[in-house]
Symmetry: C3
Subunit: 419 residues, 3 copies
């Protein structure tokens, strides 16, 4: 819809709120793009271009970055209908001098954009410029468990302990080697695993970590394992089939170290086996939060900000958040991060879950330049929803609606993650 005056007012008010982005994949040692290749190498673009017919030849590491950009841009006229293309137009307008009214980027623009980007991104204060133009205050990272967490400002780049490899790859000797290296503990049974995990948590919380996170397949069931069972699996079964139990121990550490545990539920890895880098994962809609029943009951003091991959599951997320004090709906993830799903899921949540529990959005960005267009998309939808569901029907004043939006964008992030 074209935004009417009310929606424009709301969006304008929301766009002034300084952002604390509670989930990203930013590398704090290299947070901004160096070239347009860093922007268009984002898997959303390589996926769409490949899906629309682009061969993967130029995606190899040793291909020329300028050629790669040309190729991805060349295929844009096959996917310029997508929300992701819209993000790129926004980036080109905000950072690369594309006119406010221009909506098309074609093959002929590739070189000019590439050169502009090289020059723009080379400015010594580029990182600061992006922070300023985005009104970004803090952004959460996703750190491997053995990340030294040094060399960056942890009040601006907030560490978050990603636990996927601990839970799903403990059968790999390399994972155990890394765990021993960071924790100083040689893991061979439940007790040593517990000790090693506690050391990891200590390392993270001492360095300003404000969350623990994991992404989970649709069929995952958390479970408390007996120490004997853990011992057996470690000693006689190559550390296999321990995922549910290791996950449970991590939840125990979240409890003990008072960290929220972000659950990102629903991803099947490597479904499209020959897909582009990071463009191989899909899902199975047949999954339920009921699988987390025991977890949510066992850890009432742990806050679980939950993201679901499928919009059909959003009603479960709404309902579990309405009932369980420790379950919170968290943002709009991946295949549910396009406007129709965001709008549907947001309306379902905002009319039924206590407003203090709604974590509106996160960017999931790999480079800081993406925070602005993604939050921009979200704010447009949020303004629309606030207008239609609250202001127009006389349920809330415009001022109260902006306050509600602020809560989703900022206040709740501060409170839930204690930043």
């Amino acid at each position: 819809m074209a935004a009417d005056q009310l929606v424009q007012n709301l969006e304008s008010a929301l766009s002034k709120i300084p952002l604390i982005d509670p989930h990203s994949h930013i590398d704090p040692l290299s947070p901004v793009s160096k070239s347009l290749d860093d922007i268009l190498g984002y898997h959303y673009y390589t996926e769409l271009a490949h899906s629309a017919g682009m061969p993967q030849t130029l995606l190899s590491r040793d291909a020329d970055p300028r050629d790669r950009v040309r190729e991805i841009v060349k295929f844009m006229d096959r996917y310029d209908n997508t929300a992701q293309y819209g993000w790129f137009v926004d980036i080109a307008r905000t950072f690369l001098g594309l006119g406010e009214k221009e909506t098309k980027i074609s093959a002929a623009d590739a070189d000019k954009l590439y050169d502009t980007a090289l020059k723009t991104f080379a400015q010594p204060d580029w990182e600061a410029q992006v922070f300023a133009k985005t009104r970004l205050e803090k952004i959460f990272l996703t750190n491997e468990f053995d990340d030294p967490l040094t060399g960056f400002d942890t009040t601006r780049y907030v560490p978050c302990l990603r636990t996927d490899s601990l839970v799903f790859q403990l059968h790999l000797p390399e994972t155990r080697r890394r765990l021993e290296a960071i924790s100083g503990v040689h893991v061979h049974d439940a007790a040593t695993l517990r000790m090693a995990l506690a050391r990891v948590f200590l390392h993270f919380t001492r360095n300003g970590a404000k969350a623990c996170a994991i992404s989970l397949p649709p069929n995952f069931h958390p479970a408390k394992f007996d120490d004997e069972h853990v011992y057996e699996q470690m000693q006689f079964h190559g550390f296999n089939d321990l995922a549910s139990g290791v996950f449970w121990m991590i939840a125990e550490n979240c409890r003990d170290f008072k960290l929220p545990f972000d659950l990102m539920i629903g991803v099947n890895r490597r479904v499209y086996e020959k897909g582009v880098f990071q463009g191989q994962d899909l899902f199975d809609q047949r999954t339920s939060l009921l699988q987390y029943k025991d977890l949510f009951n066992a850890f009432p003091s742990v806050t679980f900000p939950v993201s679901v991959l499928t919009s059909a599951q959003n009603q479960e997320l709404m309902a579990y958040s309405w009932i369980f004090p420790n379950v919170l709906p968290n943002g709009h993830w991946w295949y549910s991060n396009t406007p129709p799903f965001i709008k549907k899921d947001l309306i379902e949540r905002i009319t039924a879950v206590p407003k203090t529990k709604l974590i509106g959005y996160y960017s999931d960005a790999y480079k800081l330049e993406f925070v602005k267009p993604k939050y921009g998309m979200y704010r447009r939808i949020l303004a629309d929803v606030l207008a239609d569901e609250f202001v127009r029907p006389g349920v809330m004043s415009e001022t109260d609606a902006v306050a509600l939006g602020t809560r989703l964008l900022r206040d709740n992030v501060k409170q839930v993650f204690n930043v």
Copy 2:
């Protein structure tokens, strides 16, 4: 959306229709509230307040009702974005003197509202006032199978036989004792169970019952059991695992006694084990009406008004109602009873299922004061849908649209339940 003139006209016309509410939990011996505690003790409020951080201390039976109300109201500024809060504002406006334009109820209002409620609800004709202000004509109850069904006007409070305990708790000696007490039959095999159930149905139909009802877990499959199997389970397995078969016998009685059988599909009990009273149940979206294939085929003369808990299953409900003459979509239940789900599910049904089969809404209320705000919410959405899907595109005149709405609100209830 703010209602334009057309929507206002439709809503106004719909609000004049006397209601027959086909499903509630009203106690006919105590149908209206005595204090604000009866209103705010409704599980929707205790759930939301608790989910938003309220401890359960004041929810205990021996806590002071005024303190409890203060506590629940105090937490409203954490959930004043929800549809359920909207119902309370409507109640406060309609029954407790809150101004038409006031949208906020805060901690400071608790005592005043409490006192007003005490005084208002104490009026000797309060029940009649609520009926009148609600334009309520009849309301269905949900009676335990051994309810004496005496002491109230069964043309106004229509009995409905709830069969959950018969189906799911026959393994409890207390259930069997109650069944023997009401039926005079000592159940020990299929034949005696059949006889006992028939006596229960006779008791109910003689006392004006117009429906039989049950709520079912997501994984439930009805099945006809052999008499031998029933006998074995009763004699040697403590009456366990009989649910599917007892359910089937109840369907046989619905056929023989010509009662519609309300199926409310999808609830898992006690998912949040330490939740507030009635605030522990959730669901698993992985369920299908295909599980009811044999039932729907075996009982063509039994009308099955079906409610589903999840909106994702609404398409199944739409399709099964479009195909099976004896399957009807029934209202908007529980976690699907908030505006976005009602709107989606209603549009899906009203554009594809014969209009004579659509049972629009029921209140599910525990106290009569809730019928008005809940139906009010539904009528606003219904008016909106009638305007957008039928009147504006020129498919129907405004008069025909009101007639269609009347059908959903009243005519079909009269016809389906024969009241």
Copy 3:
């Protein structure tokens, strides 16, 4: 919604595009209706009338067609709220002289409509008239594997090899007899089956076939079978349980003969056992495209236009089409072919899948008269979506939006199916 000027402009522009309808059940030897019985005998009407209470007596083959039509029309006042009734009104307006403003068809109209239809449909150039009024250029058929494919113009009526009976009924001697008759091969092991299938594909492609198609139950998993296993099933198990493997061989032929393979996923046959002809099938929402993971990976050169029966699965279809180059979302099928589902599913696809991969719609018609009202319904929704998602927010010009719509309606069909 009432169409505003922008939507009207878009719809008007879209209605000028000549159609290539990529899926129907037209009999090319009898493509148009001969009487109103051919129109109202369509299962959508017999289903709805029966679901609303019509007995099946007059549906028997030997009943009088005029009586049958009267009966189906008589019940229309029970289902005149449905989209399917809307198609009939459109047919009556376009082909049978109903006034543009008339919205009601009642029992009293049956005879007049019947007589008008008889006269109208008897015109010698009726088929050409329907093509012209529909702006129809080509329409795909659904041919049994042993269809001689003669006696009609295959550039107008495009053959499509339907493979349901080969995959699901090879255990029937009659199917094998027919396969031997058309292929000249006596099937008794994997090699002879492969040869027979290749002969069928040769017969079809030589006669202008442009697609292969199949409808699949929700629990279907394609799988490559060993030749030994196929041999065993044929020799010792009556050709049973071969479906997954035969399906796989058909995919191999699609690869070798360069035919797209239309997958129509989700239908359970004969759920309502005593339903009207073609009105017995329903579905189980618990299904996932993950079941097709191996297939999509194994045949990168085969294009799979995929239809899903349930709208909840549309997000999977959107996501798999966004990731897999060879997976394309195809139209809006059956229980998802009513306005609310079309709108939801279309918005989800058009904002996330490359536009070159979107096959907008097919009629699924049994008689040519249905192509116009069904495409008319789709174009109204498409115009609405193009206006709201692209033109109004300034993402596209009106001209570009029409071009995008043209792509969905025509260009992509031409390109994907090579017509």
